[in-house]
C-alpha cells in the first residue's frame, strides 16, 4: 500500500530508539554481572545468561500484557496501541535498576503488578513508573533485610573499587544497568537522535546537581573524590538520562521542564551528597513527577 500523508507511526520509531539506547546498558550489565562473575568462578555459564534472558522475557511479557489490555479488555481492533506502547521500554528500565542478586527473578512479577496498577491510575496522577518501581523495590528489599547491590564476585572482594575513572566505566557496585556512566552517556547520544526525547532534562538537571555538589565541596567538608564517588555510585547519570526524562511523567511545557530539571538536580545532589541516600534521586524524581501538572503552569509566568 502506498504510504499516506499521515502514516508516520513515529511512536514506533521513537520506541525503537529508546530500546537501542538501553542496549549498551543491558550488554554491560550482562558482562559485569554475568560474564565477569562466571570467569571468576562464582557462577555457571548457564546462570550468567539470566542477565540476557530476563530483559528478553520482560519485553515479551510486556507485549503479552499490552495485547491483553488493548485487544482483550479495551477491544481495540487495530494493533497500533500495542505496537506504539512505551511499556516494554519502561519495564526494561525497571529491570536495569534491580540489584544483581538472588531475588532478581522475583522482580518480574513486581514489574507486571506495577504495569496493571499504573494502567488504572495514570488517568488521575502522573507517575514515573521506573522511580516508583525502584522505591518499592528498595522498600521491599530493606524489609526482608536483603538490600545488597554487590554481585557474587564483588561480594567476595575485601575492598571496593573507588577510583573515579574506573567508576566512570562502570566498575562500581550498583544496580544492573546503573553503574556505567559511559554506557548511559552512549545511550544519551543515541537518544539525541530521537527528536521526541526531552534532551534538556539530563543536561539542566546535571548542571543543578554539579552546582550544588561544588557548593557542598566548598562548605560541606566533602572531598572532591567523595563527590565523584557519590556521583558515580549513585547512578545519577542513568537516572537523569533514562528515568528523569521519561516523557510520560515530565512536564510538557519547556519552561516547566527547565524548572523541574533544576529542582531535580539540586535536590538530587542534596540527597546523594548530604543525606547519603542514593535512592534519594529516585524519590525526588517520583515526587516531582507527581507535581508535573504544577510545573506545566510555569508557562505563563515565564511569558513563553
Amino acid at each position: 500500500m502506498k504510504k499516506g500523508f499521515f502514516s508516520k507511526n513515529k511512536v514506533l520509531g521513537i520506541n525503537m530508539l529508546y530500546v537501542l539506547s538501553v542496549l549498551p546498558l543491558i550488554i554491560y550489565g550482562f558482562y559485569k554481572n554475568g560474564i565477569l562473575v562466571y570467569q571468576n568462578g562464582f557462577m555457571s555459564l548457564f546462570l550468567s545468561l539470566q542477565y540476557l534472558v530476563i530483559p528478553i522475557i520482560i519485553i515479551a511479557l510486556s507485549y503479552v500484557f499490552e495485547i491483553y489490555y488493548y485487544m482483550g479488555i479495551k477491544k481495540e481492533e487495530g494493533t497500533s496501541s500495542v505496537v506504539n506502547s512505551i511499556i516494554p521500554y519502561i519495564n526494561v528500565l525497571c529491570y536495569l535498576v534491580c540489584a544483581p542478586n538472588d531475588y532478581l527473578w522475583l522482580t518480574i512479577p513486581l514489574i507486571v503488578i506495577l504495569d496493571i496498577l499504573i494502567k488504572f491510575i495514570d488517568k488521575y496522577v502522573t507517575i514515573n513508573q521506573i522511580a516508583l518501581f525502584k522505591c518499592l523495590l528498595v522498600g521491599i528489599m530493606t524489609l526482608i533485610g536483603n538490600l545488597e547491590y554487590a554481585n557474587l564476585y564483588e561480594a567476595s572482594l575485601t575492598t571496593q573499587v573507588t577510583e573515579p575513572s574506573l567508576l566512570f566505566l562502570g566498575n562500581g557496585i550498583g544496580a544492573i544497568g546503573t553503574t556505567s556512566t559511559l554506557c548511559a552517556l552512549i545511550g544519551y547520544i543515541i537518544l539525541l537522535f530521537n527528536s521526541y526525547y526531552k534532551k534538556e532534562i539530563p543536561i539542566v538537571a546535571f548542571i543543578g546537581y554539579a552546582i550544588v555538589s561544588v557548593i557542598i565541596y566548598f562548605v560541606g567538608g566533602l572531598s572532591f573524590n567523595d563527590i565523584l564517588v557519590n556521583t558515580f555510585n549513585s547512578g545519577i547519570i542513568f537516572a537523569l538520562v533514562y528515568v528523569a526524562s521519561l516523557s510520560t511523567a515530565t512536564p510538557v511545557v519547556r519552561s516547566g521542564r527547565i524548572i523541574y530539571s533544576l529542582v531535580l538536580g539540586v535536590l538530587g545532589a542534596v540527597m546523594v551528597n548530604i543525606l547519603k541516600l542514593n535512592i534519594g534521586v529516585y524519590i525526588v524524581i517520583l515526587v516531582l513527577g507527581l507535581l508535573t501538572p504544577l510545573f506545566d503552569k510555569f508557562k505563563l509566568s515565564l511569558g513563553e
Partner: protein, 374 residues
C-alpha cells in the same frame, strides 16, 4: 515552474503546474436564509449579472453565461459557453485619479467581500495601516502568489491609490523565496512612493495576520490594521477600474506529493469535482480529501458537491488511510511548536488558538489535538 517555500522550517522546492479551467459546464451558488434573489428559473444570465445579495450586503454574480436552474436552495447557471458578458459603462482608463468617495461607492455598489465581510466596511474604518499579504497563509497554497504575479502593476497601483486616498501607511508582504514576485516588484517599486515592500520568510503559520502584526508591526494596534490578500486587492482594483466583480479565482490542488502542486485558474461557482476530473484526470473516490489546511484534518466527504468560493483555497487529495491515534506520550512537541504559545494538551482548547494544525502535524501519536473530541 518551481517555487521555493518553507514549511515547518523545512525549505521545500515545489514544482507547480499552472492550469486553466475557465469553461465549467455550470456554476452554482448556495442560497441562504434571508438572501435576496434577483433571478428566476430559466432566466438567461450574462457574465457579471447580479444573482443574489446576502443579508450582510455581499453580492454574488454570474461567472458564466447561460440559463438559470433553481433547485433545493441552489442557483445553477448552465454554461452555454458563449461567454456573453455585461460590460460596465463605468470602466476607467486609469485609476490614478479616482477619489476616495468613488472608491467607496464602487466597492459598495458591487458588494464585494473579503473573509465574508464587505470590503467597503473595512475601507470606511479608521485603519492606520494597510498590509497586503501576497502570500498564502495556509500551507501548500500558492493562489495569492500567482494572482499577484499575474497582476503586479495593477495591484501595486491599487495599493498606492488606497494609501494616498485613505491617508494610511501601506506595506506589501512578499515571500522571500518567491523570486518572480520579489524581482518583479523590486524592479518597479520606485514608481510607487507610498508602497513599502516587506520581504519575509513564508513559513507557516508565521505569515498569518495575527503573527505578522505582532512580529513586524508592533507599533500599530491590531485593530488599526487593514489586512487584505491579493484576491481582495484585485477585487478592489477590478471594481475601481472596470466597475465589475471578479469572476475568476485560483485554487491549489495537491495529490499527496509534497514536491508537486497544481494551481488552477477557474470560475467562482465551478464544481470542484468536475475540475479535478477534467483537468487533473484522477479518480478521487477512494482518497481522503482535505480542504485548505490538511493539518486541521477537516475531511471533505463529497467533492462533487463542492463549489469554488473564496473559502475553498486548496484541495488535498491523499491516499486513503486509517489514522489511528495512540496514547499520548507527553513528548511536549505540540506545546513547543505552538505559534501562539498555548498548551494543546489542555482539556479545553485556549481561545487564542489559531487552528493552524501544527500540533496535529507534529504529534507522533496521531492525536487530533484541535478537535473537540480530544
Amino acid at each position: 515552474m518551481k517555487l521555493t517555500y518553507k514549511f515547518n522550517n523545512d525549505e521545500k522546492r515545489i514544482d507547480i503546474e499552472r492550469l486553466d479551467y475557465l469553461t465549467p459546464n455550470s456554476t452554482e451558488i448556495y442560497v441562504r436564509e434571508g438572501d435576496t434573489i434577483y433571478v428566476k428559473d430559466n432566466d438567461y444570465l450574462y457574465i457579471n449579472q447580479l444573482i443574489k445579495e446576502s443579508t450582510s450586503g455581499i453580492k454574488s454574480y454570474a461567472t458564466v453565461s447561460g440559463n438559470v436552474e433553481l433547485e433545493n436552495g441552489i442557483i445553477k447557471v448552465n454554461n452555454d459557453k458563449s461567454d456573453s458578458s455585461f460590460v460596465s459603462e463605468e470602466a476607467l482608463d486609469d485609476i490614478k485619479d479616482v477619489k476616495k468617495e468613488e472608491i467607496i461607492k464602487r466597492c459598495e455598489s458591487l458588494g464585494i467581500d473579503y473573509e465574508n465581510k464587505l470590503i467597503v466596511n473595512k475601507l470606511k474604518g479608521n485603519s492606520r495601516l494597510l498590509i497586503v499579504n501576497a502570500m498564502d497563509v495556509e500551507p501548500y497554497q500558492f493562489n495569492n502568489n500567482y494572482l499577484f504575479q499575474d497582476n503586479v502593476k495593477e495591484l501595486l497601483e491599487t495599493i498606492e491609490l488606497l494609501a494616498k486616498r485613505f491617508n494610511i501607511d501601506a506595506y506589501l508582504l512578499l515571500n522571500k523565496y518567491d523570486d518572480n514576485n520579489v524581482n518583479a516588484v523590486k524592479g518597479v517599486i520606485n514608481n510607487y512612493q507610498d508602497v513599502n515592500l516587506k520581504v519575509i520568510e513564508d513559513v507557516f503559520p508565521y505569515n498569518t495576520n495575527q503573527i505578522v502584526a505582532k512580529k513586524f508591526f508592533k507599533e500599530y494596534k491590531y485593530g488599526d490594521i487593514l489586512f487584505l490578500d491579493s484576491f481582495a486587492l484585485y477585487k478592489i482594483y477590478f471594481a475601481i477600474k472596470n466597475g465589475l466583480p471578479v469572476s475568476e479565482r485560483y485554487i491549489t490542488v495537491n495529490l499527496g506529493d509534497p514536491n508537486k502542486a497544481y494551481v488552477i485558474k477557474t470560475k467562482y461557482g465551478a464544481n470542484v469535482g468536475e475540475i479535478i476530473k477534467e483537468i487533473i484526470k484522477i479518480d478521487y473516490s477512494d482518497r481522503d480529501i482535505y480542504l485548505n489546511n490538511f493539518m486541521r484534518r477537516v475531511k471533505c466527504d463529497n467533492l462533487d458537491s463542492l463549489i469554488v468560493t473564496d473559502n475553498i483555497k486548496s484541495i488535498f487529495i491523499f491516499p486513503k488511510e486509517n489514522i489511528v491515534p495512540s496514547k499520548c506520550i507527553k513528548c511536549g512537541k505540540c506545546v513547543d511548536i505552538c505559534p501562539v504559545g498555548i498548551n494543546p494538551l489542555a482539556p479545553k482548547l485556549d481561545s487564542s488558538c489559531i487552528r493552524c494544525g501544527l500540533c496535529n502535524f507534529v504529534c507522533p501519536a496521531n492525536i487530533n489535538l484541535i478537535s473537540k473530541e480530544k
